[in-house]
């Protein structure tokens, strides 16, 4: 897919909590085709301590409204600056980068999308994409507390939503992998993004139940286009760039201890 460097305009910045912002961006030109799982390398202007671009998952695309959504979690100065951007400001980004999640061939496949923390971001667009293709979508979203479960009504537009919170303030108490959904259901395809221990636990379950499982990694990056070789992960084919061979990997390809 052809990559572009574009200046998108911020249409709206919805502050979802003190830690999260939803940036809704638009452009005077038609947005390029973007696949679920792909990401943007965003240049952060106006943060003196931020030098490199920041890789950010595509949260959602609305082609009719020509909108691209980014879910920003504040983890440092760069993301803090992004989370504080105002409507009308412009954001320079390289898109679309990386590979995408695989679409099952069989429309009756049982599909589960498991997200934790900010890792829920790419799953909204993936769920929307799958629903559009005629799949039944199940989301399992985990967070520390109710306040960290973001955008739930958006996920509900595209599928069944199950939740867990560590403090029990929403859904079942505990971690996503402890959800009762796993007791009485088997899934053919599991897609996951979130903290590594969570993804490894999901991968363990997938291997046990012989489900096909894809994970989205978020290694630190410099270039985002396969030139610098900084973001590598170890796979059955040796070190490969997460920015070009990923960010989505089938768990059978990764050299994870699971």
């Amino acid at each position: 897919m052809k990559k572009f460097m574009l200046d998108l305009a911020i249409k709206e910045n919805k502050q979802l909590s003190d830690q999260y912002s939803l940036l809704i961006l638009t452009s005077s030109i038609k947005l390029p085709e973007i696949l679920p799982g792909q990401f943007a390398e965003v240049r952060v202007d106006g943060s003196p301590t931020t030098f490199l671009r920041r890789p950010i998952s595509i949260h959602y695309i609305d082609y009719e409204l020509n909108e691209l959504w980014l879910l920003i979690q504040i983890v440092g100065d760069g993301t803090k600056r992004l989370a504080e951007m105002k409507a009308g400001e412009s954001l320079n980004m390289l898109i679309p980068l990386g590979n995408s999640f695989t679409t099952p061939e069989d429309k009756s496949s049982k599909i589960l999308l498991v997200g934790g923390g900010c890792g829920v971001a790419p799953l909204l667009y993936l769920g929307a994409y799958f629903k559009d293709k005629g799949f039944e979508v199940n989301f399992l979203l985990g967070a520390r507390s109710r306040a960290d479960l973001l955008q739930l009504c958006e996920y509900e537009r595209f599928g069944n939503v199950y939740t867990t919170t560590e403090d029990g303030t929403h859904g079942e108490r505990g971690f996503v992998t402890q959800h009762s959904l796993f007791n009485d259901s088997n899934f053919d395809y599991i897609y996951t993004c979130g903290p590594t221990p969570m993804m490894k636990a999901v991968a363990r379950y997938a291997l046990k139940t012989k489900a096909n499982c894809e994970v989205s990694l978020e290694n630190t990056m410099a270039c985002g286009i396969g030139a610098c070789l900084c973001c590598v992960t170890d796979t059955t084919e040796g070190h490969v760039c997460v920015c070009t061979e990923g960010p989505v990997f089938n768990i059978t390809k990764l050299k994870w201890q699971i």
């Binding site: 052809k2 990559k3 572009f4 460097m5 240049r43 301590t49 931020t50 030098f51 490199l52 671009r53 390289l94 290694n219 630190t220 990056m221 410099a222 270039c223 985002g224 286009i225 396969g226 030139a227 610098c228 070789l229 900084c230 973001c231 590598v232 992960t233 170890d234 040796g238 070190h239």
Partner: protein, 303 residues
């Protein structure tokens, strides 16, 4: 429109702006964003005699106005380059220059000999300055005798333009430059990265898997500029300057200090089209100051 052509020994450049090894892949990674044939030259990823997996992740740390890397020369080896990469880059209408690294002198010689036979590779850049591999690399570039030894050996088998990339991690970089010039290097490029370190205080751990890594970006520019100025005064062969160049003004500073051409490295990660902007900016400067040719500003620093 000033004349931007410049020759580095036998190497003919359409302009003095090139992209640094390890920051521009094989060039084609950037072709969605611009016409890469506009660049004066592309230094492709460090190539070794055999495939290298490089160092473990994490290999990169962002630092104030720069970054540390510890990639460790990950590449598929010179034979893979010749059979799989060369056919895809040989017809790009610019100079494709291969950066060559090794753990032993024999490694350097074998790789250089193989590249010597490729008609569309007009030059190699001998990397005797990589700080990220335990065996060799920088070890060759930090003493005059070992730098001289490796250049002498490669010079015997390599007939085209031989550029030697120098390490800044030395007491006197001019001495090393003079040593490689004496052994037949056609030009020198400097600086490679500066050895540095980053720590995560919360975790009380180093950020890089290798603990130390190479610092690049605008943070190193004043050091690079000083070294280019020192080396350009010391040697007769052309000097290629690099180290933290982000803008045309940065590039011009290196040329005024004595560089005949420059390389852009880390800046490619921030703006993939930066090299085109630097070419246009140099041209604007020459027009604005009434210079007919870019050659007129090399070493034109007024004291």
């Amino acid at each position: 429109m000033a004349n931007l052509n410049i020759n580095i020994g036998k190497l003919q450049l359409k302009n003095p702006v090139m992209t640094a090894s390890g920051t521009f892949g094989y060039g084609t990674e950037y072709s969605d964003f611009m016409d890469i044939s506009r660049i004066g030259g592309i230094f492709v990823k460090g190539t070794t005699v055999r495939e290298r997996q490089g160092n473990a992740y994490p290999r990169m740390a962002e630092t104030p106005s720069g970054m540390l890397n510890a990639v460790g020369l990950q590449n598929k080896g010179v034979d893979y380059f010749i059979h799989n990469i060369y056919p895809t880059v040989k017809d790009i209408d610019t100079n494709i220059i291969v950066n060559v690294s090794g753990s032993t002198i024999e490694d350097y010689v074998e790789t250089a000999e193989k590249l010597n036979s490729l008609s569309k590779i007009p030059a190699i850049e001998l990397n005797i300055s990589c700080p990220n591999v335990k065996e060799g690399g920088m070890a060759f570039g930090t003493s005059c005798s070992s730098a001289a030894q490796v250049v002498r050996a490669v010079r015997r088998v390599y007939e085209n333009e031989l550029i030697v990339k120098l390490s800044p991690n030395v007491t006197d970089i001019s001495e090393i430059a003079l040593a490689v010039e004496a052994e037949g290097a056609d030009s020198v490029s400097l600086i490679n990265t500066l050895l540095g370190m980053a720590i995560n205080a919360e975790k009380r751990k180093p950020i890089l898997s290798t603990i130390t890594g190479g610092l690049s970006g605008p943070a190193v520019k004043p050091i690079a500029l000083r070294m280019v100025w020192q080396v350009a005064k010391a040697v007769k062969i052309p000097v290629i300057g690099l180290g933290g160049i982000m803008t045309a003004t940065d590039a011009l500073e290196f040329m005024l200090a004595g560089a005949s051409a420059i390389q852009i490295g880390t800046a490619n990660f921030i703006d993939p089209t930066v090299s085109i902007k630097v070419i246009d900016g140099i041209n604007d400067y020459l027009d604005r100051h009434g210079f007919q040719s870019v050659v007129d500003i090399i070493g034109a620093l007024e004291m």
